[in-house]
Symmetry: C2
Subunit: 203 residues, 2 copies
DNA sequence: TTAACTTCCGATCGATCGGTCGCTATAGTC
DNA sequence: GACTATAGCGACCGATCGATCGGAAGTTAA
């Protein structure tokens, strides 16, 4: 509430902050974390620039907060639902399927497509905390893929000569291609293609 | 030359324009086509903003010129050297290998990595001529891949049940993964991984 | 009731954005 | 040599950028 209504309490301040971060995630998926500007974001939320920036201190801190929030959404959508599955190929397949539907359907949260791909491409030629943060995220996810791939190989669910890191590399490329097909071409057959490629990779 | 030296002739004006576009390509691969700004570009080249913009009329025209130039470089590096190879699997393999070395080595021209990936991600959530241009480029390249894949299938160089569009989709994802591995992680094993994945895809 | 604290706003900052204007110096044309 | 066309410059435009500041409004704890 604004205007004549009472100001936010401390608890509501946190909700304001959450609102800002949530909107930042959506806008950044469209325009990137640099294309996201304080002025437009504040106008979009109906608050002042200074009131907005007061929650973070700097644009970079806001960018990091948005990235962290997006990471939490991604984890909740992709990794957590598969956490209880049997480690190895079973859990890996569950994660991969979640990953596809995440790219396919989370358009309400990320209208401009996977924020991580956007940010990775945007910051891979720069230096600083944001670049480090996005690199850390991708490293972590790749490591998790490798873990389950290794388990699957040891359990005989994948050919003995499978290189887990090789396969993880190919999986990530597959998802980047899927994201582009959806965002740039609106290709509705892309998810099916990804599943088909996955079946072949994990056969 | 500036200052006391003679002004550019008409022919030299074209060279000035080329210099601007060439520098734009390099800077845009680092910062994107939106992150590219007239002021910094002009300062970088040692000319005035108005003198620079006079060659194009608008930033968008400059962006399109840079994209066109990058496309010419890519075509000369990847497609033309393989143009005379035998259509089908032979030519396809030549193109794929060129594509890898292009991502691996063209860092003098594209210090920030593949400009097309950058632009595609940057503009996939927007509208306008730049988005249409980048989409057209990717469509064209994918179509060319499909053509050779189809020839290869008909010639029996690939399994009869191969879906050319499916394979082209996987190839493009592979290259996006390669570009990220190089730019974000400096992974020197990524080209070898890409070749290995290629061998399996085109076996 | 008061004092300390916090949220948020309005005003403002210097810098930079893309873009326009009139001008000068030169090149090409006759 | 006169005339026209053009490349490039310097000054400037309104808008917006990220960021800072002091103060108003409100909450919390004493």
């Amino acid at each position: 509430m604004r205007g004549m209504s009472p100001r936010n309490s401390f608890a509501e301040a946190r909700r304001t902050r959450d609102r800002i971060v949530e909107r930042s995630v959506a806008l950044a998926s469209l325009e990137g974390l640099e294309g996201l500007t304080i002025g437009r974001l504040a106008a979009d939320l109906g608050i002042s620039k200074s009131g907005l920036l007061g929650h973070f201190g700097s644009k970079e801190a806001l960018q990091l907060a948005a990235l962290e929030r997006a990471s939490a959404i991604f984890t909740a959508s992709v990794w957590e639902p598969a956490a209880d599955a049997r480690p190895g190929l079973t859990r890996l397949r569950a994660v991969c399927e979640r990953w596809i539907t995440y790219l396919e359907r989370e358009r309400a949260v990320f209208p401009g497509g996977c924020l991580f791909t956007t940010v990775a491409v945007e910051f891979d030629g720069r230096e600083g905390p944001v670049r480090e943060a996005i690199a850390r995220l991708f490293s972590m996810w790749r490591r998790r893929l490798v873990v389950d791939l290794r388990i699957a190989v040891r359990a005989g669910e994948l050919p003995r000569d499978t290189d887990p890191r090789q396969l993880a590399f190919e999986l990530i490329g597959l998802y980047m291609g899927l994201n582009q097909a959806i965002q740039l071409f609106g290709d509705r057959r892309a998810p099916a293609r990804t599943r088909r490629a996955l079946d072949r990779l994990l056969a």
